[in-house]
Symmetry: C2
């Protein structure tokens, strides 16, 4: 692995001091920000995440803030998911597509008020899209990136830790719901969500000055729970089928190809961009789709480019994420496979950097 | 320095194999792509660049392609620079701003035909902005990211090397002009441009399959010129006052603050987005502006966050890029300074991680 050259352009976060003190070993760059990827080792981080509780600097999930009388209309223009029944206090996973139905981002929308929303984004400058849509359609909204940085608390002991700091009300928060809870006298949005299948919360830290105090308070409160710094874990997210925008899907893919068709209510999400294209896709169905794929043999190396999926020597798809799973004793992978070969049990071959490997389409993801 | 975790999301380029074979030591991430930053050392790379010729993988300067009857109109909407007299065969540096005049990108526009343009972008997803503007204004254009990857040939011997491969016509190409020249039977746009002050060219490699053949042909043709792999050099670009979007300016800054006011023809660039705000700025002048700043003392460390600029203990600006210059025997830096303190010769103090340093505003950049 090569080094990463620091520069202001790869922005630090309100939690970077904590991350460095915890001995971060590697980063990726996400929304022009540093996102830690390894503390101990990917495998040691994985075991710890599944047993204890970790604090994650996910400030790189930047917020696109929409405020104003046309905010709800703009939000519905942005996504094919029907938002009419969405309540204040709810977060929703919302695919965002261009006019041809190609995925631009797969963020979480947070409804703060009818006229006030945050979009907690994956790795693309969605702000540019939202701002230009608002401008082009002359909508009465303000679109901006506020000083709000998510901090995730993930793992089986997350609820116990959070309750110590925020009180018993955290236990009542439903999945993809939030409450406003006080820390040092300021109300923060605390949602039950996060990029793992181990359960946990995301705290939307509203004001960079609160970053390190909150980080330290969580570390102090969780010492006996073996809390430590962590980060989204490659192995765990593949086991759980959590997609990564830019890895597993790009703007070439429709939500239906990504297995996100259930979030596309194209007949009721009136006015959404990409509706015509997605109505057509919904009618005909996608011709390729995301699948869980087990790859045989020794632990695979790093999937830093798409690996071709072959059947009888013919290309029928691509692997976009792969890792050895210590718990499932196989290489777990995410791939996009053509419909001719996407049925569970189908035998495939994967062209990895160290040669062809046998692989099998799974019924579902592992976790 | 920490490591960088490879993943498909941090895209490789058509030249990555060559970059790796040349022993790249560090990367940054730019437009979701790997951009090399160090081969030998930043200082050794700098000396070599100023004496010989280097091949740079700048595929991360992605192209936004605009095609169709409304292409020229859309281009003029995107930038306050007056494009009416721009000719086919010309490249222009075009600030791109939002409706408030905030910088979104500072790319180079390449005019291929009245109805066909490329925008060779700095580090932000300008595609999202351009596509949504086209959509919101119902323009007759196609907006896409083509498979076009710039390869730069930079340094005093660049022309000699290029002439060997592309023939004597390269010598006739004017600054920020291009010719279409053949390589392996295919016509490529070859422009006299690049992100250094040492002179050179950028080849817009149209088709990834041509990437490594071109890389190897250049390396072979330039052996006696001491050609080697290189990359944009931190020291050289600061000496030359070449700004970096995300480092030296963000969407908070107007072109005027960045010293790019001469590219804003707000009275003639009819229909450009941000015109009203920039007319106002042009009338009143900016209250802070980019300056060359010499920082005293030992070689400074890496400027990975803005360093406050102080005068009499009061904050009057920020340093965004800094490096020790072996040729000028001082720390060269780029800063944004308030008008009260931006005159050449003004003495300032810089709050660096290892303490306060004296600094002086320069008349102009070093190169």
């Amino acid at each position: 692995m090569a080094l990463i050259s620091p520069s202001r352009r790869l922005r630090r976060t309100p939690f970077s001091d904590g991350v460095e003190a915890a001995g971060v070993k590697a980063y990726t760059v996400y929304n022009h920000m540093l996102l830690p990827t390894v503390f101990d080792s990917v495998e040691a981080d994985y075991h710890h995440l599944k047993k204890h509780v970790q604090i994650w600097d996910v400030a790189c999930e930047r917020q696109v803030e929409i405020k104003g009388p046309d905010a709800a209309r703009l939000m519905q223009m942005l996504t094919p998911r029907d938002l009419r029944r969405m309540q204040i206090g709810q977060c929703l996973y919302v695919p965002i597509v261009d006019e041809t139905g190609g995925m631009l981002n797969d963020p979480v929308a947070v409804k703060l008020a009818e006229d006030h929303w945050w979009i907690s984004i994956a790795d693309s400058d969605l702000l540019y899209w939202v701002n230009a849509v608002a401008h082009g359609w002359r909508l009465d909204v303000l679109v901006d990136e506020p000083d709000v940085s998510p901090l995730a608390v993930q793992g089986p002991k997350a609820e116990a830790l959070m309750a110590r700091l925020f009180g018993p009300r955290v236990r009542e928060i439903g999945f993809f719901r939030y409450e406003k809870l006080a820390f040092q006298g300021r109300d923060l949005v605390v949602a039950r969500s996060g990029y793992s299948k181990q359960g946990g919360f995301e705290i939307y830290v509203d004001g960079s000055d609160l970053g390190m105090p909150l980080w330290q308070a969580l570390m102090a409160a969780g010492e006996d729970l073996q809390v430590r710094a962590g980060c989204p874990n490659l192995i765990e997210r593949i086991e759980g089928g959590l997609l990564s925008y830019g890895n597993d899907m790009t703007d070439d893919n429709t939500p239906h190809e990504c297995g996100l068709g259930r979030f596309c209510n194209t007949s009721t999400a009136i006015g959404c961009i990409g509706r015509d294209a997605l109505l057509r896709v919904a009618k005909e169905g996608p011709v390729q789709q995301i699948r869980a794929i087990a790859i045989g043999g020794e632990p695979v190396g790093c999937c830093d480019r798409w690996w071709p999926i072959l059947a009888g020597g013919k290309r029928v798809g691509r692997i976009s994420s792969a890792a050895w799973s210590p718990d499932f004793r196989t290489n777990v992978a995410i791939g996009m496979v053509r419909m001719t070969h996407w049925d569970a049990g189908t035998k495939l071959e994967i062209e990895t950097p160290d040669g062809l490997r046998p692989a099998i389409v799974q019924e579902k993801f592992w976790n």
